[in-house]
Each structure stands twice: as C-alpha cells, then as structure tokens.
Symmetry: C2
Subunit: 276 residues, 2 copies
C-alpha cells in the first residue's frame, strides 16, 4: 500500500550536496531556519573545518546528523590501492565519530574492466577490514546499491538484493541505504526492502526523482514529483519494513544548483509534502 | 569459458544506425565491399524506398538481412494509443516481410509515471495482438531488454529474466534479443542466457561497449574494446546456449558518426576480431 502523505518535516533530512552552492555553515543556518529536521553531511563540506566543532554547531542549531557521505570505493587494481581505500575509510569513520554521525554511506566502488564479481569480493574484503574500527567508534556502515549505469566505475553493487547479500553475513554495524533513484526500476525492490527490514539492516532512505528525459548520467536528478519514481509506493514498502528514520533528500542537479538555494529549499519542502 | 577470438567476418552483421550518416544504398555498397556478412536495417533508412527492391538490392550485394529495427513501444495512456502501436507493429511486420527480414527487434516501450508492471502487461498484450500477423508473414519478434536507465520511457523490460518471462508463454515466433550494452551488469545474465537458449528463444546478439565515462545516456556507446564489457565472456555464454547467428554491431555514437565512416567500418572489423 502506498504510504500516506507526509504532513510535517519531522523526518525531513537534506544532504548538503543537494544545496551544493552552500557552505556547511550556510546549510546549517538555512536548514534550521526552514525547519528541516536532519542533515547528511558530505565530506567535502568538512574540508578545512574543525570537525567536532562543526558537529556541535549542527546539533546546537537543532539539526540531527543523520549520516556522513561517503565512504567506499574499495576496489583497486592492486593491494596497495585497496589498502589505501581501507585507510581512507578508517579516516572517514574517525570523521563520522568526530562529527557525531552514527552512519557512513558507502558508495562501494568498481573498476572498469575488472569483473564485477571480483569487485564485489574486494568490497566485502574492504568492509570487513574497516568494520572493527567502525564498531569501536560506534559508527555503522550502510552499503548503498547504485544504479546499473554506474557499474563501470562507481559501484559493482547495483541491486538491493546484492546489497542485502553483501550485508547479511556482517553484524549490526553493516547495513544498507535504499535510494529510490538507483533502485526504482527493479522488480525485486519490494521483496528486497522487506528482506532488508527482516535482516534489521535498513539504515537509510534517500529520495529524489528520475526525470524524462534525463540529460546527464550523474547531475540531472529531479525534485520529488518531477519524475516517474513511485515515491509514495516505495516509502510504503520501506515503512512496512519497519523503517522509521529520516527521508533524506539527495539531489545532484546542475540545473537546480544554479537556482536560488533558498527558493530551492522551499520547493524541497513543498515537494516533500506533496510527492514524497 | 570466454569464447575464442573470432577469425573471420562470416558472422559479422552491422546495424545501419551504426553508420548513421550513410543511406541504405551506401551502407549496402560499403558493407558488401568490406566483407560484412549481414545487415540489420533500421526503419528510417527505408523511408521513401521501395522496400522489396531494397531487400533485393541487399541480397544481390551478398548481404544477409538479419533483422529490421525496430518495432515495439506498446504502452500508451489509452486504448486508442495502444491500438495505434499495434497497427504500427503490424505495418512493421509487413515491411520486414517485404524486405525479406526474418526478425523484428522490439524496443518494448514504457510510459513515464505508469507502473512498470502495467507497462509490461500492455507489452504482453501488444505482442499477443501482433503475433498472428507476424506468424502469417513468417516474421519473428525479438523482445530486447533495455538497460534500466531506459525504464522511464523506452522499455519496461530491463533484464533478460523479464524478457525470458515475457517470451516464454508465446510460440516460436516470439523470442529475445540479447544486447551486451543493456545487460552486461546483471549478475543473472549467464543463467538467463542459458535459460533463453533452453527455451529456444535466443534470436539475436548485439555488441558494442560501455565507455567510462559515458557522457550521454543514448548516444555515447563505444566500439568493442573501448569499454568495460566482458565481450568474450558473454559471447561464450551465448554460444554455449546454442546461438550460431550473427554478432550484430549496434553502436549509437555522436562522436563516431562524426568520423569518416569508411575508416570507422575498418575499425569495426578490427575491433570485431580483437575484442568481440
């Protein structure tokens, strides 16, 4: 059953990348002023900052820190490259802990020309290597399956089934992030969302929309309602699976980044109630 | 096991759209001169032509007519729209019969905002409506699953499993076209190619490559070897499934269309032996 319309912003989270022209400080101020409940911080916005102080600033503004984006990119051509990725993910855990983010979203990576099965093996190996550090820091890791159009270089994990299969053997510090943009087309989505819930691994839910035509493989996501994704239906599945976390708005859009970001944030709130 | 390298052009087919700047007549002349064995004709190249005469010309040049591209696009918002699509597909059957093409490739269609399940139902209904006419004409229909990035408007059939499921209930006049560009990422591909072979429905095999980065969702396909698709491995699966037809080169590329098409055809032949 499709979910009922959302009636307030108590579960609205915005990714800093959604309002990319804004610094972390501006996003903090404007999100709080707009009544946004949560923020997912992209690592680039932390560059040159005191991370613990940034986390404090966000919390004092009343924002819930939902997650840190993003770790991952485990596959590499040689052992040194894979170790470098593991080290960077440990650093990402440290940043999440300093920030006060309970979760890191993993864009798992892929290596063009390397078999996807081998990339997935390297991803599992990388997660296993980072996990003790994450567990010690109290930071969870969410595997985000990416759309098959990113299977060449961004992620060898392209369906929720693959993400669930990958997460299942690990403890509660490894789960899954469901993003409608990547997964809406999959006829196994409902069943795998339910399975993810049963596994206790549904850690995050990301929304945006798929525009027709989509003019760029990466930077042409739509505001909710501007595309063809059955958002209410998928949120219904996610909530039926027991998820009660934030609905995170994650939109990469050259077009929308070029508009007034305060107006855009108002549009996000409208679209959140009307279409999400 | 990956297939052994191809050593001659006896199974090389080129789609007219691959050399889009060329008219059907130029493609006929140049393909034949280059020793290409087969041709798949796109319908736009037949506009304004006597279709039977065009077929005769191709055969007299020594080219095998592999298929006519493309029928399909069955989903529509209302019954009148769906009937129009069925009528157009019957016309496509007539064109294939006049041309002497034994096969039509179906890009099945999708309607942004309509549930994919409903689009698939309309596709099955459309194929069933066209089938008697196709059977009477001796023309087969090949369902081509398209990449999930085309699920909004081009095809609600996005995996080989869906195509096999859709084709299975029909008689031998409905089968499947396997295109590596659309399907290479799917972890079920090997199993579903084998299943397609067992069903006796593996009717066509299309090759190209996936470039990194891909800069356009539609018109940036790569020449075989210029991307990350494991072409030898997939051809191995296709041949293990009993397929002995042509390897059809289908490349949409603004970049390659802007080059000298005779040189491009030479590159195709080289890439066919070296990478396909």
């Amino acid at each position: 059953m499709p979910a009922a319309a959302l009636t307030d912003f108590s579960r609205l989270c915005v990714h800093t990348v959604t309002t990319k022209p804004w610094s972390l400080e501006t996003a903090c101020e404007q999100y709080a002023k707009a009544g946004v409940a949560g923020i997912t911080v992209w690592r680039d916005t932390l560059e040159g900052r005191d991370i613990a102080a940034s986390g404090k600033r966000l919390r004092e503004a009343g924002l819930k820190i939902v997650s840190l984006c993003r770790g991952g990119f485990f596959p590499a051509a040689d052992a040194a490259g894979r170790q470098k990725a593991i080290n960077d993910n440990r650093k990402c855990v440290d940043e999440a802990a300093a920030l006060g983010a309970p979760l890191i979203v993993l864009v798992c990576g892929a290596l063009a020309g390397q078999p996807l099965t081998e990339s997935r093996r390297q991803i599992a190996e990388g997660i296993a290597a980072v996990l003790p550090h994450a567990r010690a820091a109290g930071v969870k890791l969410a595997i985000e399956p990416l759309h098959p159009m990113y299977a060449d270089t961004r992620s060898a994990v392209n369906t929720l089934k693959q993400a669930n299969d990958l997460a299942e053997p690990f403890d509660e510090f490894v789960g899954v992030a469901v993003d409608v943009y990547h997964l809406w087309w999959d006829d196994q989505l409902e069943a795998e969302i339910a399975r993810c819930g049963r596994l206790g691994k549904l850690l995050a839910y990301h929304v945006s929309d798929w525009r027709s035509p989509t003019t760029d493989l990466l930077l042409d996501r739509g505001l909710m309602g501007d595309g063809c994704i059955p958002l209410r239906q998928i949120r219904g599945w996610v909530e039926a699976a027991g998820f009660r976390g934030c609905n995170e708005v994650e939109i990469f859009s050259t077009r929308l980044w070029a508009t007034d970001q305060n107006q855009f944030l108002t549009q996000i709130k409208q679209a959140y109630l009307a279409h999400t």
